[in-house]
């Protein structure tokens, strides 16, 4: 047996171990329920409220992230300016920030005693959920979009400008279409993160059915009182996350 085959075997074992760790909990989750129980639990008003709220808040958050994040990422990808490294670090910080810290920071900003002096007291409201979700999810998109824009062929952009297109037209008609697969992938990752957001939401927006109790909060709150519903909502989150990842892969393959 050669050294190379030894290593292949080792790598295969490592992959099997990783798969077991990652897939077993998901399998166990699915084994906790049946299609009938799933349907019954998801028909509960509290479950429907949570799903509807998560859908609304993540949609709004994603729209905001795309609208603001796309031009911001374009600027970061194409311009060199003083303090750019600091800006990039700030933008990416929520990626590694514990959600609980994000929650405190948002309270310190938008809370009644917060930095903004309570001018916008949104704590305990649905907009607070959108803010929390946007805060934690936006960096996933900006990072991906920045990389996608940076990878766009410079000569395409130069050609566009040479032909008389302004900066805005070059951005909209050349850069965005060229970077689209990367933008979609970044948006999907942000959406996945937004759907799963828990800590910052609980701290900043609280937990109230139909107002601020998104699916992850509902899972947590039902853990002890209605395990079936907690499992059913978890299964929905797993399915949604899997669909998002599959979509990213499809887009990447099509664009690559």
């Amino acid at each position: 047996m050669t050294r190379g085959r030894w290593f292949s075997l080792l790598a295969a074992l490592a992959l099997a171990a990783a798969l077991a760790l990652l897939a077993l909990p998901l399998l166990a989750l699915l084994l906790q329920t049946s299609p009938a129980a799933l349907g019954r639990s998801l028909g509960e008003p509290s479950a429907r409220d949570a799903l509807w709220l998560s859908l609304r808040t993540t949609t709004i958050a994603l729209a905001v992230i795309l609208a603001v994040g796309t031009p911001a990422a374009w600027l970061l990808a194409t311009q060199r300016f003083r303090g750019r490294a600091v800006v990039v670090t700030l933008v990416e910080l929520p990626l590694v920030l514990p959600p609980a810290v994000a929650g405190i920071a948002l309270l310190a900003t938008f809370g009644r005693d917060g930095l903004l002096g309570g001018a916008v007291d949104v704590v305990f409201t649905t907009p607070a959920v959108v803010i929390a979700v946007t805060f934690v999810a936006a960096p996933f998109y900006v990072r991906g979009a920045q990389a996608a824009f940076a990878a766009v062929d410079r000569t395409l952009l130069e050609a566009s400008r040479t032909l008389g297109a302004g900066e805005a037209r070059t951005f909209a008609a050349v850069a965005v279409p060229a970077a689209l697969p990367g933008l979609v992938a970044g948006g999907a990752l942000a959406l996945g993160r937004a759907l799963g957001e828990f800590g910052a939401t609980l701290m900043f927006a609280g937990s109230l059915q139909g107002v601020t109790q998104t699916v992850p909060l509902a899972v947590y709150s039902r853990l002890a009182t209605n395990f079936d519903e907690a499992v059913a909502l978890s299964v929905v989150l797993v399915a949604a996350s899997a669909a998002i990842l599959a979509a990213v892969k499809l887009v990447r393959d099509a664009g690559g």
């Binding site: 906790q32 514990p98 959600p99 609980a100 810290v101 405190i104 309270l107 809370g111 009644r112 005693d113 917060g114 704590v123 305990f124 800590g199 609980l202 701290m203 927006a205 609280g206 937990s207 109230l208 059915q209 107002v211 601020t212 109790q213 947590y220 709150s221 039902r222 853990l223 002890a224 009182t225 209605n226 395990f227 079936d228």
Partner: protein, 277 residues
């Protein structure tokens, strides 16, 4: 080595890490067995203080809502002692064979907590427009006690108060946190939580006719690998260093709860919640 390991949820994980570093916790006390205590969030300060003095074992404390801890034990969490903010959950686990016979070890009072400087002075003030009230979720002991209190106020006032609820927190520390952060105007918490909050919130006593019986129950978890030590820890909760720490923290001795209003069945548990799984 006096080393206290603390397992907490994300919310206070940073504080726990800081505390562990401050305590100079390096390696585990290899020579001492490790005892894991799942305790109600309201016991955080008292048990953190007294468990360091429990020399026979290295005590690890896991604080959360009692209902969440009970769910973990139902799922087979390997802990040694379960200390809950009611007697219902230990009784249920005992009936399911998950814990030994529960013992009452402390009592508490429910109070209305408001930030210091608040203009709320009585439960009746909660109905004022714009008031934001935070309570425990149903199924969490503090949430069930709160619902028991509200069940005794006139229906119209109860509806008006419930209309002010802006968040239902997974444990009592979540309620206290919303008050100390200035996010909410009032919340129903235990008297001991106000003591623990160090002057940042003020307690408004409830009228005796509204006060529920808040009794804390603890039991040794079935299958504990250190059952004898777990029983010793439990003894210390009932009468010992931890009992003394509980009294200092504002808890009453077991059996001394205000019984004027009679026993409160902590209702609000989910109908049809499976006992196991």
């Amino acid at each position: 080595m006096q080393c206290l390991g603390i397992v907490v949820r994300q919310r206070v994980a940073l504080a726990a890490v800081a505390a562990a570093l401050a305590a100079g916790c390096g390696g585990a006390g290899a020579d001492r067995p490790r005892l894991t205590i799942s305790a109600a969030a309201s016991l955080t300060e008292a048990l953190t203080r007294c468990s360091q003095g429990f020399t026979p074992a290295e005590v690890r404390l896991s604080f959360a809502g009692s209902d969440e801890l009970a769910a973990q034990i139902r799922q087979g969490a390997r802990v040694d002692v379960f200390a809950a903010a009611n007697t219902k959950l230990p009784d249920q686990l005992h009936a399911a064979g998950r814990v030994g016979r529960p013992r009452a070890f402390a009592t508490n009072r429910l109070v209305l907590a408001v930030p210091s400087g608040s203009r709320i002075h009585a439960i009746g003030d909660l109905t004022r427009p714009g008031t934001s009230l935070v309570i425990g979720a149903a199924g969490v002991p503090v949430g069930d006690y709160t619902r028991a209190v509200l069940a005794r106020v006139p229906a119209a006032q109860r509806r008006a108060i419930l209309a002010r609820v802006r968040s239902e927190e997974p444990d009592v520390k979540g309620v206290v946190g919303k008050l100390t952060q200035g996010a909410a105007d009032a919340g129903f918490v235990y008297a001991s939580d106000v003591t623990a909050a160090d002057g940042r919130v003020r307690a408004i006593e409830l009228p005796a006719r509204l006060q529920p019986t808040v009794t804390y129950g603890a039991a040794v978890v079935t299958g504990s690998t250190h059952a004898a030590l777990a029983r010793r820890y439990l003894d210390g909760l009932v009468s010992g260093p931890c009992a003394a720490a509980l009294r200092r923290a504002g808890f009453g001795p077991p059996g001394a709860a205000p019984r004027r209003a009679g026993r409160v069945a902590t209702t609000g548990a989910a109908p049809g919640a499976p006992a196991t799984r």
